[in-house]
């Protein structure tokens, strides 16, 4: 069916992330929504006290997310840090009526049991989404990175909530100003090689 094909597409290459909200959603409805969405990562779903945010990321958003992940992995590789990338992990807490899915997340070190990631990364390509810090706080993710308009801000979890910090506590020594500078609109894998070369040179390898 011709129109069925059109159903699956998003039309003329949308430039923004697309957000849709539903209110008055029970936990059971939210879990049903997760089931409908299935194993894929689109739309991304967040849940907070009855509100569901469905997000369809733009191509640029997904691209930036992937490149940041790869750059982080290059850094870990050069500095011999063990890591496990978990991608868009659905972090849920029924009791706290909270659910959130980061763009990328990581567990560092050699732990076998993972209850939650050490680091969650979110790309803010289009503004207007839910402020996810409350959601991550309830899940207890120690560190958040938000990329927005070329800059990565770092948020460390304290008993009172997240505070913006200047340096990563999960990956001490990583320079996120430098890392963010390698993420740009015409980025290719050459940027990964250049980043690796920059890091090695500094390390004296």
């Amino acid at each position: 069916m011709l129109h069925a094909r059109k159903l699956a597409s998003r039309g003329d290459d949308p430039k923004e992330d697309h957000f849709v909200y539903l209110d008055g959603v029970s936990w059971a409805d939210y879990e049903r929504l997760m089931k409908l969405r299935g194993e894929g990562s689109v739309p991304r779903l967040a849940y907070e006290q009855g509100v569901v945010e469905l997000m369809s990321p733009s191509r640029e958003h997904e691209s930036i997310k992937s490149w940041i992940g790869r750059l982080v992995e290059v850094w870990c590789d050069v500095h011999d840090v063990e890591f496990r990338p978990v991608g868009s992990w659905t972090l849920k807490n029924k009791r706290k009526k909270t659910g959130v899915e980061p763009d990328e997340c990581y567990v560092f070190g050699d732990r076998r049991v993972m209850r939650r990631p050490d680091l969650a990364i979110e790309v803010v390509w289009t503004s207007g989404g839910l402020d996810k810090r409350d959601l991550y706080r309830r899940i207890g993710v120690p560190e958040l990175w938000f990329w927005r308009r070329g800059r990565i801000s770092i948020h460390g979890l304290r008993p009172s909530g997240y505070v913006e910090v200047q340096k990563s506590e999960m990956l001490p020594g990583i320079n996120l100003v430098e890392l963010a500078s390698f993420v740009h609109p015409r980025m290719t894998s050459r940027a990964l090689r250049a980043y690796r070369a920059t890091l090695r040179k500094r390390k004296g390898a």
Binding site: L7, R10, K15, G24, S56, M187
Partner: protein, 226 residues
């Protein structure tokens, strides 16, 4: 750390990714800093494998609110959140049609957003606005529905409206309203409305750019009186 200016000669001689990897990257990354990231498009999210009862559950949860708009067809659910400009346009079109109907003493009912659905046809759709003319108004479906195409994307709704027998669709797109009339083989673009013969939609559309709604309706009313 200083940023090296990019000149044509520099780009020619040095690979921007290797020559001075860090500083060149910073210049390119600055492309992002200046970007306006406020949402302006209509927003669409699609879900697949949605059953009819799931769709009805979504309608129930959404309730009386008009957003997001939901369209359903054979297992695919589209949720749509229109941009502010999109919403404005569809509201204003409704007001101006009301003005025209008042001037021409045509009984007119608008219900804002309207849910057309059929379990048997596994179809559901919600136009931006739906009008019914005459007294009493048609009990089951609008005579004319209005769809503002602000940004492309989303389900092609012609087929969905056809299943409900909606006589006319008025599409606003890029400053123009086109009329699509339902015939035996589906919708066909026609030069003027048959449901409201005599309405000049090119004239109506020209009043959508006023700074306020009241100015638009006042000036349109004055123009119709001439």
């Amino acid at each position: 750390m200083s940023v090296a200016p990019i000149t044509g000669a520099h780009m020619g001689r040095v690979d921007p990714h290797f020559g001075d990897a860090y500083t060149s990257s910073v210049v390119l990354a600055d492309d992002f800093a200046a970007r306006d990231d406020e949402p302006k498009e209509d927003h669409f999210v699609c879900l697949h494998g949605v059953s009819w009862s799931d769709y009805e559950r979504f309608l129930k949860v959404r309730g009386d609110r008009s957003l997001p708009r939901l369209a359903y067809e054979q297992g695919v659910l589209e949720l749509m959140s229109p941009s502010q400009r999109h919403e404005e346009l569809s509201r204003w079109i409704g007001y101006l049609v009301l003005v025209w109907c008042e001037q021409h003493e045509v009984p007119f009912s608008t219900s804002g957003s309207w849910t057309l659905k059929s379990k048997r046809k596994k179809t559901g759709v919600e136009p931006d606005d739906g009008f019914r003319f005459g007294d009493p108004p048609h009990p089951k479906r609008p005579d004319v529905i209005v769809e503002v195409i602000w940004t492309s994307g989303g389900i092609d709704k012609h087929e969905l409206y056809r299943r409900f027998g909606v006589p006319e669709i008025w599409f606003w797109r890029r400053g123009r309203i086109s009329v699509h009339a339902l015939g035996p083989r589906g919708y066909k673009e026609v030069p003027r409305s048959r449901v409201l013969p005599g309405i000049d939609l090119d004239q109506l559309v020209s009043f959508l750019d006023r700074p306020t709604t009241s100015q638009a309706t006042r000036e349109y009313r004055a123009a119709l009186r001439k």
